[in-house]
Symmetry: C2
DNA sequence: GCTTGCCGTGAAACGCGTTCCATACATTAC
DNA sequence: GTAATGTATGGAACGCGTTTCACGGCAAGC
């Protein structure tokens, strides 16, 4: 493997001059520049990126911590990150943590070990304090709202509230909700929105641990066995909504007549099922998170709230008396 | 930032000994080992991974080239890669190319520049020959079948044939197909299967450029305007199938009575729509591709064929006369 | 008693590009 | 005419961990 010292010898210049040519620095005479270029071609030189990284102390790489790369919304955030990274000449390393604390530690360790210049945390199970201990090593941007932390987020409180108010405006008073991981920041905000908007909350109408299509089907069965049921359900994700709808249709119920359902995400599933859903611009979240991660004002802990929009479908329509 | 020389000074040993302790090398006396460990704690030393990479010439990183990170099947492959990478102590860099040649070049360049130890090519637009020119710099594994190339793939010919034969076994003789990118390896194999199985092929029943839900809806409109229509359709993906089914239902057609539809992928959409589909174990593809990329027999160009399975749903059932 | 071989340790070279600092000449400014 | 700038170039240090080689000590083998 030829290196810049070989080039210098071949072109009869110093390594400094070679480096200057490589980096398009001015202050190199045209003939020497050409000599170096010729040497590069002749020897088939290719820059060793690792050496550049060691020398400059920059990896031009951002790390991404997320639980699952193949979940639609996380993939959408990743898509935004990928676009932005390419535009800026950055790469990104993805770590799939499955919400396992030790895996998340590995990611933080990577920041400390200077494998990446910064970190985007899409979702996590470690405490924010624990994560922030690593902020001394570089920018850490969350895709969730936390106080005094760089973050790009949607306001789950208002987003959930808009879903609930939509159901209310359609005449529903018996409204239930589905939540994902019970103790996540998002779930807490959503629960609060529920308690503030549809008070007093009946805990039997809060369905926990709703994450997948299967969870949705479970909830549907739970619902159909209840003596006192809600007439409308705001779910935690389109997947859950899909599971509910499919299971209930299988059981002969009609949507939205027997149960109005609103999803969350604005995914492909929503299109297919003509689902009313709270659309979240995940791609934008990814893009914004990336730009904070590479900006130099990340120490100011910028916070960017991304608005959501209610997407009308047929699974929640006005109740006809 | 403290480095191993600082540690050596603090622990009053040589840098070699420090390095040995760091790498759990034997041949270090217990007291010196402890002295180094103490120094590490005292000075808060953290290994600089970039320096390790430069020194060892290994990045312990695999690059992944794919067109879109947020397409379900690519994300599923990524999921497999992510799992395997974590287990093996590797990281992976993802490049989203959008099938743009210059972007794909960037990825190949990264291999040459030793940013990654190897490359997994999920899908590409550059020619195989062009890509293989970079094999001198490290392993390149394809997730598609090509001769004399390391690859993990599903046999699109037999997979498509199984779909076509299923339709035939249900009594269909008027069978059409949807293809994705016209000149991709996959499309060619699929077309061949079609021509061999449902001969003679009517080109009016080959719908090209079928990639998204919207494309599916377009095809549905095309189909409904044809005077001579197929009674069954084998699509290129569940997305396309979903688009077709939704558009036709909107127009008042019944599935599968008016048109039997089989999807491809075995995605969430298939579950939701109760779609008959050719299920592909994408995760397995990712895992296998990864293990080839880090194995040392990649120069033998191992080829691994992954089997597919037909998943029965309600969108293609026996034709009742 | 002498050779082999294992254990333990360190100096120095290596991988490779970047950059600080010094030097030298050519302009431009006052 | 002299001082201040700008252009061009190179030597050497730097970032930092790994690894080769050499060497001293000690125990087992014959």
């Amino acid at each position: 493997m030829t290196n810049i010292r070989d080039l210098a010898r071949e072109a009869e210049v110093s390594v400094t001059t070679v480096s200057r040519v490589l980096n398009d620095h001015p202050y190199v005479a045209e003939d020497k520049r050409r000599a170096v270029r010729d040497a590069i071609t002749k020897l088939g030189y290719i820059r060793n990126q690792t050496a550049v990284q060691l020398s400059t102390g920059q990896t031009k790489t951002i790390g991404v911590m997320l639980p699952y790369v193949d979940h639609p919304y996380h993939a959408a955030i990743l898509h935004g990150i990928a676009q932005c990274a390419f535009e800026e000449g950055y790469r990104f390393l993805t770590w799939q943590t499955n919400y396992i604390a030790s895996h998340e530690q590995t990611v933080l360790q990577a920041l400390a070990q200077r494998e990446v210049d910064g970190l985007i945390i899409v979702s996590h199970s470690l405490s924010v304090d624990e994560i922030l201990r690593y902020e001394q090593y570089g920018p850490i941007v969350f895709c969730e709202h936390h106080e005094d932390v760089s973050s790009v987020y949607i306001n789950h409180y208002t987003a959930f509230q808009s879903g609930l108010k939509t159901l209310q405006s359609f005449g529903h008073t018996q409204i239930g909700i589905c939540l994902g991981r019970p103790d996540s920041t998002n779930s807490r905000a959503r629960k609060q929105a529920y308690q503030d908007t549809v008070a007093p909350a009946d805990t039997a109408w809060i369905y926990q641990q709703a994450l997948t299509i299967e969870d949705g089907a479970d909830i549907a069965r739970q619902w159909s066995n209840q003596s006192c049921r809600p007439s409308a359900l705001l779910t935690a994700s389109d997947h859950v909504a899909a599971g509910i709808i499919l299971e209930l249709r299988k059981q002969g119920y009609r949507i939205p007549e027997d149960l109005a359902v609103i999803g969350f995400d604005g995914s492909d599933l929503a299109v297919v099922l003509n689902l009313t859903t709270v659309a979240v611009p995940y791609e934008t979240i990814g893009r914004q998170a990336f730009s904070i991660a590479i900006s130099d004002n990340w120490r100011d802990h910028p916070q960017i709230e991304i608005p959501t929009a209610l997407l009308s479908g047929l699974t929640a329509v006005e109740v006809k008396e």
